[in-house]
Symmetry: C2
Subunit: 175 residues, 2 copies
DNA sequence: GCGGCCCTATATCGGGCCAACATAACGCGT
DNA sequence: ACGCGTTATGTTGGCCCGATATAGGGCCGC
């Protein structure tokens, strides 16, 4: 699932600029499963244009940089379907928080506590965002993925809240 | 949480070769939160050696490549603690499965079904591995992270099983 | 009214990281 | 005798991210 494919997917919904592609994933909360930085989106769109998988129209704006609005072409749609039918890669997750918790016995109690609390706050915010967005979801697939995300965050929050005090206590003893 | 830090962390537990570092994360099931490929582990260990954060002893084996067993140095432990006390990066998750499900209305019913079933089987296997490893866990931190992983997988499986038939039905209608 | 900050918007660059490949020998099954 | 899986190290091409650059607009406080 490279960034070019992610861009093609977004463009099957609606035309968009590179900036909008990035924002949409963040706002819709699908960032849990797929995201990309500007440093990969802009080159991806350039190359998709070269390959004829998307087309561009430049909308000159007064006193702002030109908007480059990208549209997916028929060739692009075909290529996207091919990508969807290739074997899917395994999930890749990386959590610096979880990694740090593996070494909680090496950390001061306050550090473990602060890490836990800010992690919980972050997950709460993400859950709320997904929940807020659930009503304006169109396709059954989006509803499914939104629900999956909410399920994961809710389960994590339950667990984190249930174990927050226990871990901090252990860290204290080892300090 | 770069690969050098991950390697240092593993080496606080026990000396290891590059090969063993990779295996340990896979076997222990912590691969959900942190993992690295050989293509980054070996260069990471070389550079850690240059920087004096780890030391190497070569164990020549007959008729096998030499094992290079790495040990963390005092300087390495200090550096690792510094890394643990720096602000943690946000989680990064990428799921080609979830991304594909966003476009289930573009896919044939059998494809959606096959994707779902193999995804469920994969998560079941990972949950089982975490569960099997829970008994041989030493530190409270590891127990916490193991439990967090199990919680996530269990919640995902509940959700996937509850919604597997619904999604396939929708894909059929759109085919 | 002006300095600071966030938002829109595009783009590049260094460096990190991965997948695939290369090498090499062993043991096990068939 | 052949292939396959496991131990073990390493390189390479290419993808991707984070930081940075550029640039004007709007808004808030002072």
């Amino acid at each position: 699932m490279d960034v070019r494919t992610i861009c093609l997917g977004l463009l099957t919904h609606a035309d968009a600029t590179g900036y909008e592609i990035k924002k949409r994933f963040e706002e819709d909360g699908f960032g849990h499963f797929a995201e990309a930085s500007f440093g990969s989106i802009y080159p991806a769109l350039s190359r998709l244009t070269e390959e004829g998988l998307v087309s561009v129209r430049e909308e000159a704006q007064e006193k702002r940089p030109d908007r480059k609005v990208y549209s997916i072409t028929d060739k692009g749609r075909t290529r996207f379907l091919e990508a969807l039918n290739r074997p899917v890669q395994e999930d890749r997750n990386r959590s610096a928080f979880a990694f740090a918790m593996l070494f909680s016995h090496l950390l001061p109690r306050e550090r473990v506590h602060a890490l836990l609390e800010s992690y919980i706050a972050d997950k709460e915010a993400r859950l709320a965002r997904l929940n807020a967005h659930a009503s304006e979801v169109h396709s059954p697939g989006e509803l499914f993925v939104n629900g999956l995300g909410q399920t994961i965050y809710a389960a994590m929050l339950d667990y984190l809240r249930a174990h927050r005090s226990g871990l901090s206590a252990c860290a204290e003893a080892a300090e």
